[in-house]
């Protein structure tokens, strides 16, 4: 049977056509994506990588809520210019507690993977509230509302930690028990700053 004949069978039988499309399109995913999901080296934490503390996790979720990742990548590529500009290049092991990953696809603003410790908390606070007061030509939005909302406004921090524990993040009962206390009296801007200040610290001794 020539190829055209074979195809005439496919295009006369809807079931066969559906199966054909599913089969042909699934191969790539099975060969290329599935092994990565189960590749152990991609889920081994780097030397100093630990699960996010309660305040950092709240900060990370706010970072997601405000869409910070639409303009800021968190992925330093292993290129001389990038390492010069931002610091050591990113390793897979640093992202094992990132659900979802926040590597980004666009740098309208600078990469943030090694931002932790580069500026003071005060600088970040001023910058988040009024970016142009510290970077004159910045096009970043201001985030005044972060200073007005309590860090535990959603009131579900324990639930978040429990869900992450079920997904394999090593939180202890004490971590979950003490989480609301760690947010006490703080605002969302404190949480975002705590998140930003620990970024890049996960590499540890490997550096």
């Amino acid at each position: 049977m020539n190829g055209l004949g074979l195809h005439q069978r496919l295009e006369r039988n809807a079931g066969l056509l559906i199966f054909g499309i599913l089969f042909v399109s699934a191969i790539g995913g099975l060969v290329q994506v599935l092994p990565s999901i189960f590749q152990e080296s991609l889920s081994q934490p780097a030397a100093n990588t630990r699960p996010y503390g309660a305040l950092e996790l709240v900060g990370r979720d706010i970072y997601i809520r405000e869409g910070c990742g639409t303009c800021h990548s968190q992925q330093v590529r292993p290129l001389l210019a990038e390492v010069k500009r931002y610091g050591p290049y990113s390793r897979a092991g640093e992202s094992v507690y990132d659900r979802p990953f926040l590597w980004g696809s666009k740098r309208t603003g600078p990469d943030l993977h090694r931002i932790g410790g580069r500026y003071t908390d005060t600088w970040h606070r001023v910058h988040l509230l009024d970016p142009r007061s510290v970077v004159n030509n910045s096009i970043m939005p201001a985030y005044p509302w972060l200073a007005e909302r309590a860090a535990n406004a959603d009131g579900d921090i324990q639930l978040r930690l429990k869900v992450l524990r079920r997904l394999g993040h090593p939180y202890t009962d004490a971590d979950i028990e003490s989480a609301p206390a760690k947010l006490e009296g703080l605002t969302e801007i404190d949480a975002v700053i705590a998140y930003l200040q620990q970024l890049g610290a996960g590499l540890g001794a490997e550096q």
Binding site: I21, V24, Q39, L42, R99, M140
Partner: protein
Amino acid sequence: MNTTATKSNLYYHDRVVTVLVAWSIVWSVLGMAVGLYVAAELVWPQLDFGYPWLSYGRLRPLHTNVVVFGFAVSALMATAFYSVQRTSHVPLFAPALAWFCCIAWQLAIVAGGLSLLAGINASKEYAELEWPFDIAITIVWVCFAIVFFGTIAKRKIQPIYVSNWFYGGLIIVIAMLHIVNSLAMPVTLTKSYSLFAGAPDAIVQWWYGHNAVGFLLTGGFLGMMYYFLPKQAGRPIWSYRLSIVAFWAFTYSYIWAGPHHLHFNAIPDWVQSLGMVMSLILLAPSWATMINGIMTVSGAHAKLKTDPALKFIVLSLAFYGLATFEGPMMAIKSVNIVSHFTDWTIGHVHSGALGWNAMITFGTFYFLVPKLAGRDLYSVKLANIHFWLALAGTMLYILAMWGAGVSQGLLWLSLDEIGELNFSFKDIMGSMAPYYGLRVVAGVLFLSGTLLLAFNLFKTLQGQKVVRVVPPPVAAMEAA
């Protein structure tokens, strides 16, 4: 056209098509307006006036979701429902379910859009909507599949026409991608954590993200092209053999190309290299389909001068060719070093989204709406003005982003003779202002064209007759 009303319900169900087209136009105007607004925010950051819901980070996902899932998917549903009836010579299977798809999808876009403004965001690109929406989308999609494949199952023409392979591929592959990429553990109704973490999450996301572009914005629209281009040109598809080869090569190779979104990121090197090679291979089926389309029009050149619908469709094929050449080039790792993370990517996406998806949809609507309304297009002149506005807007957009992206990419990497950085990030970012300004102008041009289309087609539909098209009689199918 046969417009006799019959007492049975044997006529084609075109009312649902009309409503979907109308919604698609509404979303195109809204989605592009939001796009223009975020483009303006990158020039005048104060434009959010201190409101969280007007903030760039919340509007940008709204823009992508409204144009992809509102504008594009509504157009694909409309044209799939329209063409599958005509290529099968039967009315829609389960028309009530088709109406459910139509209404539930629009409600999902409205509610989903509001949730994005509220900051409810799962953060995966093109899959930002949170888990309750993921479930709703899955349900509507399954109903879409039932209506579409149900219609094919009761067809009166034995061979399944090529446009239906592409629409079928859209339905099947998007279902697979959406379900896997959306796997997450809910915390509350508005928050969940991805089942995958870090590097595997990135690989799964770009397997989804790239192929949402592949099977929705490319494959789905190729289905549209394969039905409406021959119809409009009044000529059969140039090569049946080429359409077969290109379809299967496309379906097989597209799915591997996702990792080029993660070049030099922390994923295994073999995954990146494989993604790059398969991206290059993808050029072949992409251009094969483009050639098939262009050759179909050749010989209908006289019509090209007078028919705005055909002009849009042919121009869209040119941009399709451009975007599917540029994509593989950007997937080459040494090119990607420059293009990654820059506005070049944004320009590339828009040469596809404006030049290919929007243009072919506009062309199709200029053909389809007069048919649905049973009368001539309200104004051919306005459609011609729209054509030039759309072309100018797209070209200006792409040129601005090429300029921004290439200079960004090169300046970021630029080192002096002792290996120190030549330019600060701040200065490079500051130099983007003229390009971002040009993009706003491009957006104004393109959006004003779209507004002309909305007005023109609204006037065409106003006071329409009820058109009932009866399937042509066909010989009974031989037993398979």
